[in-house]
């Protein structure tokens, strides 16, 4: 396929994945392609990246799509096994013999196909021990072929195959095994520090191997289904679009990473907003006082800038299973920009409610505070199923008097009340006393008020119910708040 066609398909796919690629950037990429030969894959990739991706958070998505469109088309990625040079094979054969033990003596012939799964795992361990890159790559290929059980045309996503391959290799216990083997090999006892470093080294090698396996699976899938279809199934949401309620563990990690820069930016923006663009009336006294230094000429007029009070915030969050991740992120977000508020207090509940402000006060580390919230907060009253009504009632009884005209109350949760009494009068009372009461719901709008969700009933008494499914929505809400 000519490069031009490939490029336009590639760019359409980038846009489909949510990257904002403008026409000028597209043209720049075409220019760049002229001066960088496509054969030099790394340089080619960086050239496209520099012209098309202007936000580092989008780089992972770009990389995946790039791999599907470009890396997989060269002749070296043909799915045959004898692509490697001869001496590499010979060396591998030696290793196979070593693993099997010299006794059998019929190691040659058959190559890797004749290996048992245990032998492959043993070879993998050797490769990981020595950090032999070429070996790891070959093993990744081999194990995908053997264990993934891929069938042409079968509509299964890559993660399924990944899971199957890794389970067969027993990669979870590999780290421990490597550490044990390493301890045996080195004669003197390693210090704690050295041991830790070794562990990190092995960890990163295992990670690398996993990536090899993943890209091998992808390569095979593309060969089977074609790039366009493949790109579609591989399409991953950008970190800011990942839904809190359905995020996988990896996505959680990338969300956490995206959170910090986002809050920093938001804090900078809010602080700037506070300082700028506020015009006040002339401060006559101040102006006259300063005019004395200019001989009575009011050369330097002074103004009375308004200083609006920062809002006080009370966060009341449901931390039951389904919405726990959302509550966690919102708390992290709020505490990361807490100096934009005069005071932040937080409460968590399931069917009982507990104040957790103290966890955040006692440490600067937000992550640790969140952990303590999850483990130490006393939130179960009867059975550990969400009971908004009871939680709100107790909240109001204990802390209702602290709500005043400066307070903004944030209620977080999906309002799935398990058919308990709603007690929505509490929210109504809160609103009477507070400056604002908002409800943030992590569920898509179409699910609201279905089943046991009674967000409408509560929502009627608030200043607004907002859908907060992802980081983007959360950020835009918080920026209007402060």
């Amino acid at each position: 396929m000519p490069v031009l066609d490939l490029m336009s398909g590639f760019i359409v796919e980038l846009r489909n994945a949510g990257l904002p690629v403008s026409l000028t950037e597209n043209l720049d990429a075409m220019e760049a392609v002229k001066v960088i030969p496509i054969e030099d894959r790394d340089a080619f990739k960086y050239a496209l990246g520099a012209t098309l991706v202007k936000n580092n958070a989008h780089w992972r998505v770009f990389e995946t799509i790039f791999e599907v469109y470009f890396s997989l088309r060269g002749p070296e990625y043909e799915i045959t096994q004898d692509a490697q040079p001869d001496d590499f094979w010979r060396e591998m054969q030696d290793q196979i013999d070593q693993v099997r033990g010299q006794g059998e003596g019929k190691g040659s012939g058959g190559g890797m196909d004749s290996l048992t799964p245990e032998e492959i795992a043993a070879m993998l361990m050797r490769a990981l021990m020595s950090g032999d890159q070429a070996m790891m790559r070959a093993l990744a290929k081999q194990s995908v072929q053997r264990f993934a059980g891929m069938e042409p045309g079968r509509p299964v996503g890559g993660t399924y195959y990944l899971y199957r391959t890794l389970r067969n290799l027993d990669l979870d216990n590999m780290l421990q095994k490597l550490m044990d083997a390493n301890r045996e090999m080195s004669n003197q006892k390693l210090s704690a520090l050295e041991e830790r470093l070794e562990k990190d080294e092995f960890q990163s090698r295992i990670e690398q191997f996993k990536q090899e396996v993943e890209s091998e699976i992808r390569r095979r899938l593309v060969a089977d289904r074609g790039a366009e279809a493949m790109a579609k199934t591989l399409r991953k949401p950008l970190p800011e679009d990942v839904e809190f309620m359905h995020a996988s563990r990896d996505e959680m990690q990338s969300l956490k990473k995206a959170l910090y820069p986002l809050t920093r930016k938001l804090a900078a923006r809010l602080a700037r907003k506070r300082r700028h663009g506020r015009k006040g009336p002339l401060d006559f006294r101040n102006t006259v006082r300063h005019s004395l230094s200019y001989g009575g000429v009011p050369a330097d007029p002074k103004f009375r800038y308004p200083r609006p009070a920062k809002p006080e915030l009370m966060v009341v969050a449901d931390i039951s299973g389904s919405v726990a991740a959302f509550a966690r992120f919102t708390l992290m977000f709020v505490y990361a920009i807490q100096n934009q508020f005069s005071k932040v207090r937080s409460f968590v509940f399931i069917d009982g409610i507990d104040e957790v402000t103290k966890f955040f006060k006692s440490t600067e580390d937000i992550g640790e505070a969140i952990n303590r919230v999850n483990t130490e907060a006393d939130v179960v009253w009867v059975d550990g199923h969400s009971d908004y009504g009871h939680a709100f009632e107790v909240f109001f009884e204990r802390h209702g008097k602290d709500i005043n005209s400066k307070t903004t109350v944030l209620l977080l949760g999906d309002a799935r009340n398990n058919y308990h009494a709603a007690q929505s009068w509490v929210v109504k009372e809160m609103r009477k006393r507070a400056r604002h009461v908002y409800w943030l719901n992590p569920e898509p709008k179409s699910y609201w008020n279905t089943g046991d969700s009674i967000v409408g009933e509560y929502g009627a008494h608030t200043d607004g119910v907002y859908e907060c499914r992802n980081l983007r929505q959360l950020e835009s809400f918080v920026s209007t708040l402060a």
Binding site: I36, A50, E195, R196
Partner: protein, 288 residues
């Protein structure tokens, strides 16, 4: 215009001569910036050598480095140009009677009375220059617009004089610490380069290059410890410059293999928050 670099590999080699170890991405983007005649926007955590890249490229090409440090409140008269009012005033007073009005008028708005600021200086310069616009995220969004004309067309329009076009296209680097989102207009005009913490091998190489007489073993150990620390969930991960400081400190103390106590005692050079130091010390001493 004659390209400055032959290929990506030569950029890399040239930078290495200036003791800047570039990876494929960095060298590729610098090469591309020259070929396409586009500015480079460099983003990344603090202390990963963003500014240093511009300096090294200047040294490598033998060009003069012109630097515009951005800050809040930067304006046209500090970034682009300013009329020299005092001199204009003197000119008017010097020969009050001889010249006609129109002649004086034309006269005082000429090159002679123009004070060039970094941006104008960069494009009027005869010899090759590298323009570094440092920490561009510190200026307000409105001020960014000042840069747009020069970044896309390499020209500056002065109402009284007309448009001044560049005599030669300078290499332009913009750095940003990512404290705010830059405008789309600015990003569109630039090539984008994200400089992250280096991987293990590159960090080790950097330590070996920058710290003279360091033993290979120590450099390796330093790079590995720093990698482990960066994996922790910290407020501020150690930057490359902090790694180098640490390496120099260890050299001065005459240490050639780091053990736990020494690592703990010198952690404050790598990490600048008390909570981070405590966390790292705890992690390093307890192997799991």
């Amino acid at each position: 215009m004659k390209p400055r670099f032959k290929d990506v590999a030569s950029v890399r080699a040239g930078l290495k001569k200036e003791k800047y170890l570039a990876d494929d991405g960095i060298a590729g983007v610098v090469y591309l910036a020259d070929r396409l005649g586009k500015p480079v926007l460099i983003e990344g955590p603090a202390g990963t050598g963003k500014t240093q890249l511009a300096k090294s490229v200047a040294e490598m090409t033998g060009a003069r480095l012109i630097r515009l440090q951005c800050y809040e409140g930067l304006d046209e008269s500090k970034a682009l140009y300013e009329w020299n009012y005092k001199k204009q005033l003197l000119r008017i007073q010097a020969d009050k009677n001889s010249d006609s009005w129109s002649q004086v008028h034309d006269d005082i708005f000429s090159d002679e009375f123009l004070l060039t600021r970094p941006l104008l200086e960069a494009i009027t310069s005869e010899e090759p220059v590298v323009l570094l616009i440092d920490e561009v995220d510190r200026v307000e969004v409105e001020t960014e617009a000042l840069l747009l004309e020069i970044l896309s067309d390499y020209q500056v329009s002065i109402p009284e004089l007309g448009t001044i076009t560049a005599k030669q296209i300078p290499l332009v680097f913009l750095t940003s610490n990512n404290t705010r989102e830059l405008s789309e207009a600015l990003k569109r005009r630039c090539l984008y380069l994200h400089v992250d913490y280096p991987d293990l091998e590159r960090e080790k190489e950097i330590v070996v290059t920058k710290v003279p007489d360091i033993s290979d073993n120590l450099a390796d150990q330093i790079a590995r410890i720093v990698r482990s620390i960066r994996q922790l969930d910290l407020k501020k991960a150690p930057s490359v410059s902090e790694t180098l400081d640490w390496a120099r400190t260890l050299m001065l103390l005459g240490i050639d293999t780091i053990d736990e106590t020494e690592a703990k005692e010198t952690l404050h050079i790598l990490l600048k928050y008390q909570t981070d130091i405590a966390k790292a010390a705890k992690e390093l001493s307890v192997a799991k």
